[in-house]
Symmetry: C2
Subunit: 397 residues, 2 copies
């Protein structure tokens, strides 16, 4: 993409109303715009990041045999009345048609996926079943000031599974947990899993996937030797009860995913039965837009964002100086490298500041000074190298 | 994809409530499910078709220099009040938050894209500008019985452009028109362009892209020699006024796209000015989910759907008989061919009927009878050939 041809340029200053790092940097660097509190437009750079996160999540859900569908956002009230959510969920947006029909907006999709699954689950042979989609959700939040980390409209991957018994759910939960940890690893994050109460969804336990970050709202304790992790409010000891070797450390963390054991609540509400038994249902969420915000909170410095390679909007930020760079841009593009090419007539200083603000992992410079070589610098390093094009392409692949 | 591992199987019968061919066939063949009138879930096959149509549209919009963003669906009432749409558009869904803030659901996106563009259009150098997105829309329709052809929730590509003057808009409209005709050609459709009144959007003319099909709601006349086409209500002659050679033929057609010359209406409403002038704005829509419905209306026979190659959910439908086909499935997949592999233990008759119903353009059969060869049959032909794997792969690429 030629930077001269996109209108969505960086700003000199972060917006005044922004209270969080992700809101400030994502707006200033030209990734998003706030339409109103908690509701955002994704500009070309931001849209690319959102798609890359979605694709990683999709690949890992496909890998554990879940089937991708796309469920709608406008739901008949009846479905939400059947489960009690219509009256009990305070963040549920409700609306009415001209003909006085009541609808809810998708706050989650249990109320749609359960009757859908009911049609297709005809015998025990059809279980276990896992379905997911990546779709926008709406929550009537009283306060929404955390940038894209807590939106009134937000993108989520939600997966649902059905099982003949608790043991089979537990087995699938282990598979899903591994898939989740792979997703977060591919996103450059270290996620810890804690147990928590299931809130309005279920009386059973739920599992939260937390990323250690200073800007998180959750207070957790995690073992420095094994994968043990708990919510701080639940736990007062300082040695690990699991491995008995490690010490528990306090940290703040941001939730990026969760799993709820829904038990038979929804199976019963929609009378989904197999051989006279209500299947155990699980729900597995990953906040796609939220995770994008968490990543910015975690990976930035005083100059701007530092995107992990796997979800950077482009693989390289090519800075052309003195009108140069055209040929390198074409060759990189022909080699299937995703390039953001700053071909504007701004000063070198401004272009470098922009590259740091936008945060693509590799910056290339072509100028009169670089001659036959290309200046190569990684966003999170000060080391500058002069490489030929082949070596650049080799490193990028 | 292994058919045995997807739960979303075909039905013996079309749903009784379905009144249109697209609704009947898409449900029976396992592409969609109706949640309520005008609101659908896209099952794995349907989701793949929707993505393929979107990708073709995306490529052609990118090719004319439009920039892809993603705008939200929950809009502040203020924006709709500024343009008068809040009171004048009867299909606009309205809702209120717990704190009594009024919102509209995205019926279209002029009210969001205009203030967005305003931030980035700072001088005449920033024009012309073109932005698009592919996003869900909501319309409070009184009646919604045309399957996915007229949804209360539907997927649309909407593009918006801004121009210093009418001449520049007209120039861009010609570019967009060519792009639209390319899109419809790639989708296997022949689209005709008619002029119509712009409805609530504008007092200027608008252009409608119509596909000739028996199930369309529009009555048009088109020249049998040139590209002339009009709405029948506007025109009573029978020889072509454009080329003076052709005869006008009557036809019914379905609208799949439209272009509105919005004039200065939205620029004025949001005080978007360049050098003291309100830019001319254009709006260019393609109904993605609607087009999927139109394609089914146009391409089907008594046995089922006949997908155009470019948007078929899979390139081939591989039928394995007598437990065979596994090796061919693996080899095709390894050659990057998208395969739906019927590895179930149903009878040959049932499998063939399913393949015809689902409508993938090429059916392959591997059985004891086929030996070293593979039976190759196109969905819209009765010719059966026996080919080796290399020849099959060659034909599919």
């Amino acid at each position: 993409m030629r930077y001269s041809q996109t209108i969505f340029k960086t700003l000199k200053q972060a917006p005044k109303e922004a209270e969080t790092v992700n809101h400030k940097l994502l707006v200033q660097a030209g990734f998003v715009r706030q339409l109103m509190a908690g509701v955002y437009t994704y500009l070309p750079l931001g849209h690319r990041v959102l798609n890359k996160i979605s694709q990683i999540v999709r690949e890992e859900m496909d890998a554990i045999g879940s089937q991708e569908v796309l469920m709608p956002m406008l739901h008949p009230a009846e479905n939400w009345k059947k489960t009690g959510g219509w009256d009990s969920i305070d963040v549920l947006f409700k609306l009415q048609s001209r003909t006085k029909k009541d609808y809810a907006l998708s706050q989650s999709h249990e109320e749609v996926v359960t009757p859908l699954a009911k049609e297709f689950i005809n015998s025990a042979k059809d279980l276990p079943l896992s379905i997911y989609h990546i779709q926008w959700k709406f929550r009537d939040e009283l306060r929404s000031k955390s940038g894209i980390m807590r939106g009134r409209e937000f993108l989520m991957k939600d997966m649902y599974s059905w099982h003949l018994n608790q043991e089979d759910f537990d087995k699938y939960y282990q598979k899903a947990k591994e898939a989740y940890l792979k997703v977060f690893k591919r996103l450059g994050l270290v996620a810890k899993v804690t147990e928590a109460s299931g809130g309005s969804f279920t009386e059973k336990v739920s599992y939260e996937f937390e990323v250690l970050t200073d800007s998180g709202e959750a207070n957790i304790m995690y073992c420095d030797k094994c994968d043990y992790c708990v919510n701080i409010d639940d736990f007062k000891k300082d040695s690990c009860p699991k491995c008995a070797e490690g010490l528990l450390r306090k940290a703040t963390a941001a939730e990026v995913g969760n799993v709820f054991d829904l038990g038979q609540k929804y199976s019963k509400a929609f009378d989904l039965k197999v051989d006279g038994v209500y299947p155990i249902m699980g729900c597995y969420g990953i906040g796609i837009s939220r995770t994008m915000g968490v990543i910015v909170e975690k990976f930035h410095d005083a100059k701007g964002i530092v995107w992990p390679k796997s979800i950077s909007p482009f693989a390289v930020h090519l800075v052309g100086l003195n009108g140069l760079g055209e040929e390198v841009y074409k060759k990189l593009t022909a080699s299937d490298v995703e390039v953001l090419f700053d071909d504007t007539d701004k000063s070198a200083g401004e272009k470098f500041a922009n590259a740091d603000l936008i945060g693509i992992p590799v910056r290339l410079v072509v100028s009169e000074k670089t001659g036959d070589k290309i200046e190569y610098k990684e966003r999170n390093s000060d080391k500058i190298e002069f490489l030929d094009l082949e070596e650049v392409i080799r490193r990028l692949n």
